[in-house]
């Protein structure tokens, strides 16, 4: 039996991310839960970075999709705890990112991979999403959106984005 929650989850889960439209909010781990309490349907979203402006669009898109899919009173609420982490990006999401030429983050990685007391650059083994070579280098830890860094492949010479660990 397809329950209301399952159907509503499927609707909300299919909403694309505004900045990475190859991913859905479920792939990205932003859709935390869809629940029904006292007849009221709520979709809970967990924002990525504190300043990411896309959360406004995500909330509006999820509400609009749910309203047109037969849940006219559905609400969208933010859940800040536990905080979003790049580990929440699903295996499917990682595959889609790589297909789109964006290197996915390492699972269990941290913003300070060398530990708190490491000073100086820490080398990460990052594969080029175009040619697969690991002969890559970070050009800048900050890129086109809050969640990305900018890399270059020294084998195929292509630049590429990478989702950072957080």
């Amino acid at each position: 039996m397809v329950t209301t929650i399952t159907r509503a989850w499927e609707v909300a889960a299919a909403v694309p991310d505004p900045e990475l439209p190859m991913l859905t909010l479920a792939d990205l781990g932003v859709l935390a839960e869809v629940e029904e309490r006292d007849g009221e349907l709520t979709a809970w979203l967990t924002p990525t970075y504190s300043g990411c402006p896309a959360i406004a669009e995500m909330a509006a898109d999820v509400a609009a999709r749910l309203h047109t899919a037969g849940f006219p009173t559905a609400r969208v609420r933010l859940r800040l705890d536990p905080p979003w982490s790049s580990d929440r990006i699903s295996a499917e999401g990682r595959r889609k990112l790589a297909e789109a030429g964006i290197a996915p983050p390492t699972r269990g990685g941290s913003p300070t991979p060398g530990g708190l007391l490491a000073l100086g650059p820490t080398r990460l083994a990052v594969s080029c999403p175009q040619c697969g070579s690991t002969d890559t280098e970070e050009l800048s830890r900050f890129g086109s959106t809050a969640c990305k860094s900018l890399w270059r492949c020294r084998s195929c010479r292509e630049p590429f984005d990478r989702i950072k660990e957080i």
Binding site: P21, S50, G51, E57, P83, S110
Partner: protein, 293 residues
Amino acid sequence: MTDDHVYLSLAEAGPEPDGEARWAYGTGFADPLLGVDAELPAGVDGADLAAYCLMLGDDALVLAQRLIQWVTRAPELEEEVALANLGLDLLGQARRLLTRAGQADGSGRDEDQLAYWREESAYRNVRLVELENGDFAQCVARLLLFATAREELYRRLASFADPVLAAVAALGVKELAYHREYAESWVLRLGDGTAYSRERMQAALDALWPWLDELFTPHEVELRLGVDPSALRAPVLERLAAVLGEATLSVPQTLPRAFVNGRGGRHGVHTEALGPMLAELQVVARAHPGATW
């Protein structure tokens, strides 16, 4: 959805309530704590929590504004993008903290009312974050001091009694780790670079170091909430000494900048740099009160 054109895929995303396809960040999302439980936890005084959220929120807002002033002025395009990203993180933290302050004090003031309609003397940021930008060495020196201290503070606040402040801190500690690493990498490059870059980097640290201690000076609100910032002094100074040592720079031996009758930024007593910066930050909102776009 595999469309690789973001605007097309958004236009495809279905009918919007207003009947128009949305293609860029729109309006209608006034609340950065949308649907987050606003209830105050037992045992936390609302006025104190609001005052503390303003302190931390103003630190983040004012430094975000200073960082964003580097856009079009940074030495390299990558640094401009980096500084804008750091500012964006801080702005996001500030929005939640200011919104929380307006909830906790019962005034119902939203983030915009707090950011745009308070005078200089109502701002509660430490003076370090409001100082003029100076040169790029001063930019990274200030970031180093602020991010090292704020990361340490957020790590502790992640278990604070108020769930909203705790959540801001739990995410913020990871963002601040990136900020600190960025600052450290530049302090290392400039300090352990040429004789001239080392001289400029040392001069920047010497200029900003006297303002560091304010981050460790407790305000009565902090003491009542059990978040004494003087506990940060030792671990932060230890970390900074390690970075400066690696960068062949000296730890400045300057005395902390004095308060005015015991009052500093946390009490609304600021340097002359804050007023003009706020004028720039607030002018559009004040020229067009209530405008939305």
